[in-house]
Amino acid sequence: MSIAMKTALVGVGTTEQGELPGRGANDIAAEAIGLALDDAGLRKTDVDALITCRNLTGRSGIDEQVGHLLGLNPAFSATLDYGTGNFSLHLGVMAIVSGLANTVVLAYGTNQRSERVNFGNVVGGGAEFAAAAGLVHVAGPAAMAFRRHQHLYGTTEEQLGWVSVAQREWARLNPLSIFTAPMTIDDYLAAPYVAEPLRRADLTMVSDGGAALVLTRADRAKDLRTRPVYIAGIAEQTALRADQNEDNLLRPWLRATAERLWRSTSIGPQDIDALYVQDATSVWVLQMLEAYGFCAPGEAGPFLAEGHTRPGGDLPVNTNGGQLSESYMWGWLHLCEAVRQLRGECGPRQVPDARFALDCSSHDFLKAAATLLAVDS
């Protein structure tokens, strides 16, 4: 059964990003939901499903908390752990296509910066052993993954640097961005290593903020005031075998997600006007470009250095600045940006005539998801 074009995003809401001291994560999510409903021109009573995202602390972001705060009795509600926007969006699509709901709000709010959440913790079966080895924080395995890429394909640090530099160029055009200081490739290379060969600019920031989206049935979307952004395809793939997968550092299972997505549609990589990659590290962008077929395996380094992903390039990537420069919202802001780009609302960073956007995300070394978004021509 195809889910293509059966649902559409009709509202997006983004709160102030950065530091929101004294604010609870659930309240930040609630604010974002209000903004997203206003954007769609919908009211509280139009919502019949709520999907929230639990924070890393586990203490907030639970549907029961957010639904209570908003005084909602939705027909369907659920909480995802570490749901990047994509996983939550897919659950929303399933809820609508299955008939459980008609209009879903999806939200994530976090005060992880103000709460000083420790992102050094390791997860997974060998977590204690890895921590004892000193292999902490996603930066470590991501650095090892980049070393493998260098070893296999001769990729250089300068080539990788173009991920961060290009995203900073985009971020400088986005009023929501937190990191907006100019950064050249020379600035990048002159910065010290954090987890060699990765530098600070290769790693996500930690920030507070909220984001929400409203998803509804395509036939209802046509009657609303925003230009509907249709869900044209979805795909997922897990790697729950984790380190027992062959060369899990390079995350070869990303390719299975891509193959599944491209098989489900007549759209191909050449049709994508803007690409979004959830970027816990810059290495994820390098991997996704190859996994989704935007360049051949091993060629992402030269591809990045050629400038395709920069403002004015033929494959704009993370036009919001991504988690490296805009804000750290587990991929939620990538989805919000994709919707705004496809609606043509992005001012100086607008990709001309954008019709198709692809959002690729991953939960580090465990899960991947992709969503193809489209607007009518």
Binding site: Y193, V194, L249
Partner: protein, 145 residues
């Protein structure tokens, strides 16, 4: 000075691993049904789902599969440890496991270079297998950090 995040308690599934490490041996679970050698430790074989498995000694030798050097502490408990290098080691006769790589004399490791295990005592219960270049110098043994 704290150099490692020492496991606070021993998970029963891991107990034979740590007991062997304390004696300077690398021991991994071998599935009795399908012979799959697994890491990390787990209750049953992820290949054929047979519970348990026997712990057998594996030679502490391998090659660098990949590596990174932490120049900044990315965990509060490692503030005194940096800089340090972690390698993913492909065991000559077993899976890949992560561990500190020392004895480099300031040089960057090379993917594929042979390494041998040494055992570092972290606490009365926990001894960690770590790695040094498999040159002619030195003999395997138990050291203190």
């Amino acid at each position: 000075m704290k150099t490692h995040i020492v496991p606070a308690h021993i998970d029963p599934v891991w107990a034979p691993f740590w007991a062997a490490a304390k004696e300077g041996r690398l021991s991994l679970q071998h599935c009795g049904a399908c012979s799959y050698v697994r890491f990390p430790a787990s209750e049953r074989c992820p290949e054929c789902w047979t519970p348990g498995g026997s712990w057998r000694e594996v030679a502490p030798s391998g090659r660098v599969w990949s590596h990174t050097s932490y120049r900044r502490a990315l965990h509060p408990e490692l503030a005194d440890a940096v800089p340090y290098t972690v390698a993913m080691v492909q065991l000559d006769r077993g899976p890949r496991i992560p561990g500190r790589l020392t004895g480099l004399d300031g040089r960057t490791p090379v993917i594929g270079e042979p390494v041998r295990g040494v055992f570092t005592v972290l606490s009365p219960d926990i001894t960690m297998i770590e790695w040094v270049p498999a040159g002619p110098a030195g003999e395997p043994g138990v050291t203190s950090p």
